[in-house]
């Protein structure tokens, strides 16, 4: 019994004491919030049933009074009550579940953001409300607060699953199929998400952030993201390293160079410095981590498709300075 008490204590401390940044009890979006409410119904039923069954099981096993004969007819009555109880609890669950049937319909085609699951990162495309393509980014999805944003979810590799627990349930990304998800955040903040369907070697660290901003900030962000890189007349060393070494094979910086390898295509880096994290939300975006990542990506995330770069200290510093300026 002590074990259970201890566990219950840990349980409640966890749910309320710390809001882990991927905890679905955060409930920052309407869909996630409804599910938290549903959970409490389910939890109450589960506790009730477990206690009832355990009580009767243990009592039935250890009770000392065995002289009173209980005939099969009385037991039969009990069985009928038991079935009736089970059925009504199930109906309760089914109805509280069906009440939440507001998943996005598949008939609409309009969407603002298209997300493609890659190995092992997230390619993000923005569109305006008329469906015109605006720009590409990666691993960080910015949405305005208090407004429903429709996402189109695809994959051109293997099956991934798009999941931001604080905002909504997960939706798979399947090659050859289109799925949709409506995201809505009730408040500003950064919400972590992660791939939920096993997708190979680096599935564990295929994560991302959804950042919710006030509408005006969101528009500012969007306008900035649409800008291409302004080439300086005489190439800086950092630019030259980017264009002349392996980087540009897989990474695009709009206005400077376009990725040529369509299979090993990597994240668009046009506004790399505006993101808070690198390597699919694995490390904070600062000079130290970025430098370490460029020199030895395989040490950090074994099996990913980015090869190590042999750069001199001077070249690396110039490259980092250049990348750090990509606001």
């Amino acid at each position: 019994m002590l074990v259970w008490k201890g566990l219950a204590l840990i349980f409640f401390t966890l749910l309320y004491g710390c809001e882990g940044n991927q905890n679905f009890f955060a409930g920052k979006g309407p869909q996630a919030y409804e599910i938290v409410k549903l959970w409490w119904t389910l939890f109450a039923i589960a506790v009730f049933v477990t206690l009832t069954v355990s009580f009767f099981l243990v009592k039935g096993a250890i009770k000392s009074d065995r002289t009173k004969v209980i005939d099969d007819q009385a037991l039969g009555k009990g069985l009928v009550y038991g079935i009736a109880g089970t059925v009504s609890l199930l109906l309760l669950i089914i109805f509280s579940t069906l009440r939440l049937g507001h998943a996005p319909s598949h008939s609409q085609d309009s969407y603002e953001i298209k997300i493609v699951g890659k190995m092992w990162w997230w390619q993000v495309y923005y569109y305006d409300r008329k469906g015109k393509y605006l720009f590409e980014t990666a691993n960080e999805i910015v949405i305005p607060t208090n407004r429903s944003v429709r996402l189109k979810l695809l994959s051109d590799t293997v099956i991934h699953s798009f999941w931001v627990p604080a905002l909504a349930g997960k939706v798979d990304m399947l090659p050859g199929r289109e799925n949709y998800l409506v995201l809505k955040a009730n408040e500003e903040g950064e919400f972590r998400g992660q791939c939920a369907e096993f997708c190979g070697t680096q599935h564990a660290l295929m994560s991302f952030y959804v950042r919710a901003m006030a509408q005006d900030e969101y528009l500012k962000w969007k306008t900035n993201q649409m800008k291409s890189y302004n080439k300086i007349k005489k190439h800086s060393l950092g630019e030259r390293v980017f264009v002349n070494s392996n980087c540009v094979k897989c990474h695009t910086i709009r206005g400077l160079g376009t990725a040529s390898d369509k299979k090993l295509y990597g994240p668009d880096l046009t506004h790399l410095a505006s993101r808070s994290h690198i390597a699919a939300a694995t490390y904070p975006n600062n000079k130290g981590h970025l430098g370490g990542w460029i020199l030895d990506p395989q040490g950090a995330k074994p099996g990913n498709y980015m090869p190590a770069s042999a750069l001199s200290g001077k070249e690396l510093n110039a490259l980092l300075a250049f990348l750090g300026g990509l606001k």
């Binding site: 199930l90 798979d172 090659p175 050859g176 799925n179 660290l205």
Partner: protein
Amino acid sequence: MNPEEKKIQELEDTWINPPGFIGWLRIVNQTNIGIRYINTSLIFFFMAGILGVIMRAQLSSPGNEIVGPEMFNQIFTVHGTAMMFLFAIPMVEGLGAYIVPLMIGTRDLSFPRLSSFSYFVFLIGGITLFGSLFLKVAPNAGWFDYVPLALKEWSPGKNIDVYATVITFIEISALAAAVELIVTILKQRAPGMSMARMPVFVWSILVMAFMIVFAMPGVVVGSVMLALDRLVGTVFFDASVGGDSLLWQHLFWWFGHPEVYIAFLPAAGVVSTIIPVFCRRALYGHTAVVLSMVAIGIISFGLWVHHMFTTGIPDQANAFFSVASAMIAIPSGIQIYCWIATLWTGKPKFSTALLWCMGFVIVFVMGGLTGVMVASVPFDKQTHDTYFVVAHFHYVLIGGVVFPLFGGVYYWWPKFTGKLLSESLGKWNFWLVLIGFNIAFFPMHLLGFMGMPRRVYTYLEEMQWGPLNLLSSIGSYILAIGFLLFIVNVVWTYLKGERSGNNPWGAPTLEWAIESPPRNYKFVEIPQVNSMNPLWDEETLLPATTGMRTDRREVLITEILTGKIQAVEILPTNTIWPLVLAVATGVAFIGSIFSPWWFVIAFFLVFLAITGWFWPSKPWGEGRDV
């Protein structure tokens, strides 16, 4: 020598197991095959368990580097594949193959050579899987092996070919065992054992066997398509050229969900067998329990989409499968009620076997309730593919299958060996497992709530998953020690165990009417059955017939519903051909990992083996074996 002794001597000679290693390979006797199945699957259980402990060690703290991602992916895939395909299915089949014929009062399974074949195929499959792990080319796309990750483009190595091969082995062996068990149960019951008098355990094996027959074709088709996609470039699953990545999931889960109940139903049958014995009363609600099992068997085929709620299947379809999934709680609840009612009105004696069953009820109820939770579509969208689900299915599979099976092993051990497992060691075994299990798996529910996806080889410190993972790992070590005590118990019993006699528990079913361990012919005379609990209701069992021949392997064939005698069937004797055929099959499938041509070569080998198998020999028993 009096006539009775002469008869027994003749039976001994007719049913003899050939000596020596080659002889061992030729044995077709059902108790030998059954015990091989049980031993082998228990060994695979412990090996897969070690893999589980390695995974827990890797995850005990963030950023651990005990195993890298590639090895971790192979380990969790082999852990899952082995537990489902090499432990759960073969273990219940083995228990069925051993216990069922004794329980229904016959001398052997209907197709003795087929059971030998199915065992060897299973063995080759299991060795292939674990061998591949040592060679570091083990399957690495999870036990449900989703495409397109499992297609050539994304998994160019041999890993997935090994997977396709291994599950093909298990499909063949499971189908063979299922057919065998169905025919044996329907046609070889002792005279007088009508359907209504059939023990619950036999019912559970019957339902399980039918489920295998209906469920396996899904994964047979799936694995053949997968092998063809990989081997010769058909594009069943390749969406970029018109295939469908979701098709695999439908085919796999059509099998994969009933599979859970294929393992669970016999385990529930074990519980329904053990509880009445130790409560000294007949099972309350025999009919209700049997109907519940049949209902579970049927409903379980309408649940598979609940593994796919997040794939974008339309809401209406999801709702149907959601309700069907919740419905399974009703027959499960009925069984639990009947077990509690039996305990309540009986006089329970707390043997280790009964403890396992009681632990099972509580743990299984908890796992069942989280099952009802994830049957709810919106809730599943949050918890699907997280550690919440990992917790859920370990509660259901360890609590619902492993606990009762260990209870069953404790219960039937005297029948297998003639010796009683130590009760005090057994209780340590049980309590350590129960405590370790809960410490290992309860925190996983919470990790799921905190957003930890399953199948991750590592996680970042900032996720705050560290402490609960450490707790869970500690629990898994306790769990492992608990299971090790079982091995200690087996060794101790082998050395010093107490002799059990024929019926140590005072149980009512026919397997306890004969010697422990049973002779190869099991019953000197096939008994006449007049009630559901023959050993409780009758002083001595009367023979149903006289004059069955002792110079050949004869069994009685009875009518399906009523159990009236219909005929005498003569069974084949020991032979090497099942092994030869199993090896030929092995050449075909293992060879196909490397080249499709092996299939052609093996075709001729299989042809030879089958020719040998069916070569007309003297009428059975005219020439006695050895």
